[in-house]
Symmetry: C2
Subunit: 244 residues, 2 copies
């Protein structure tokens, strides 16, 4: 096996995916001319820069303090709308569900290059924990031989945690876990080496199964549409306690 | 009912989706300051501008001759990589499957404002015809009352058509239609007012059922990886015969 990946060989993979905005300059090359071009991700209006499928050649300049990787496009849009990336001095990345290879590799290279912590913010459910966050952090089960390129070991999990249900008075907002959620959580507890490696995740999944509920990112809207950016995120960041 | 849509009321909808590149300047407003900002979609390197969820306020400047809306991110990436938007003087839009409301509304506003024709390029299968293209052109079945905002009546269908299988010698490349494809085609022939309105689409679906095959956009790769941009697209554009 060659110790390089498909993207390094110049193959154009299927997957694009992921959008980025905030105080970041990406130095890319123009297709065709190969001239260097600077893309200022803070000057894209209400849109964002969509991450290309090949990211190995990108270079970065930023004064951000961390990267916030977000599950849903709607929350990403809300944070962009309120310029949360200025308030918090962070780079916002929308994963739109399970992050693609390109999205993970982009976050990894950016985090390595600029020595940035990475925080993930997903719905509080087994899919958010065991599929989205797990894939971001350690890669996908199907591609074990190249996961070391397509994972973000410096990622930590900000929320939504089962503990947040209690801390933020969300008991009435969550949806009951359905059978497929419970099965996913139990399978992960039994079989997923990542979950089995981290007692904190085992406790979180057990707490979620015991509570019997899941919490979507928008559940905080019961406290006001901007509660998540004005209160929840600042408090969680100040506290600085994240799941591994 | 008010004759306005959710986006016009300032509601932030779930859906983002769609990426744009090519000879287009989008005039957006910076979130927060509301200052006008010009986004040159030809200067985004190997990436693209991701379309925000609200597009009503956008203004446009372009010298492009048409808009090419593409189903798959991989073909979009290949066209970007080879700067096809310069060769063909077109704006490229990646729909990534069935286009979201935001993506359709963006294409509609851009096409109306700049009087541009819109051509759609999807896989040649019932899903590409009856879901992706149909939703682009006339909107989704679920949102009949607002479809007049979220559809692109000026769209025409470039390919991949069943006739292309013969014209481009693809008989050995296609995959057989599976049961769900055949059911989708038959349902559309029987129940979809859009298909029932256009004899050309009825003939295309019947031809596809008779051939028993589907053709993916990448099927052209049997003639070389760049056949689609060097031969197929130029020939189809020159011929100028599109499905309605």
């Amino acid at each position: 096996m060659l110790a390089i990946n498909r993207e390094q060989l110049g193959y154009i993979p299927e997957e694009r995916g992921g959008e980025v905005t905030g105080p970041l300059v990406v130095i890319d090359r123009q297709p065709g001319t190969q001239q260097a071009i600077r893309i200022d991700c803070s000057k894209l209006g209400s849109g964002a820069w969509s991450i290309p499928s090949q990211v190995e050649h990108l270079r970065f300049e930023t004064k951000a303090k961390f990267i916030l990787a977000i599950e849903t496009a709607s929350l990403f849009q809300r944070l962009v709308h309120h310029r949360y990336y200025e308030t918090a001095r962070c780079i916002l990345i929308s994963m739109s569900g399970v992050p693609t290879r390109a999205c993970r590799r982009f976050i990894r290279r950016l985090a390595d290059d600029q020595r940035l912590p990475v925080l993930a913010f997903t719905d509080g459910d087994p899919y958010g924990y065991c599929n989205i966050y797990r894939t971001l952090k350690v890669g996908s089960g199907q591609a074990a031989h190249i996961n070391r390129f397509f994972c973000v070991p410096q990622a930590h999990y900000l929320g939504v945690t089962p503990q947040d249900i209690k801390d933020y008075d969300l008991e009435d907002a969550p949806h009951p876990l359905d059978a497929v959620d419970i099965k996913r959580a139990r399978d992960a507890l039994k079989n997923d080496p990542f979950i089995k490696h981290h007692k904190e995740w085992q406790l979180a999944l057990q707490q979620m199964i015991a509570l019997g509920v899941r919490i979507e990112q928008q559940a905080f809207a019961k406290h006001g549409l901007n509660f998540v950016l004005e209160t929840y995120l600042p408090q969680k960041l100040k506290k600085g306690v994240f799941l591994p």
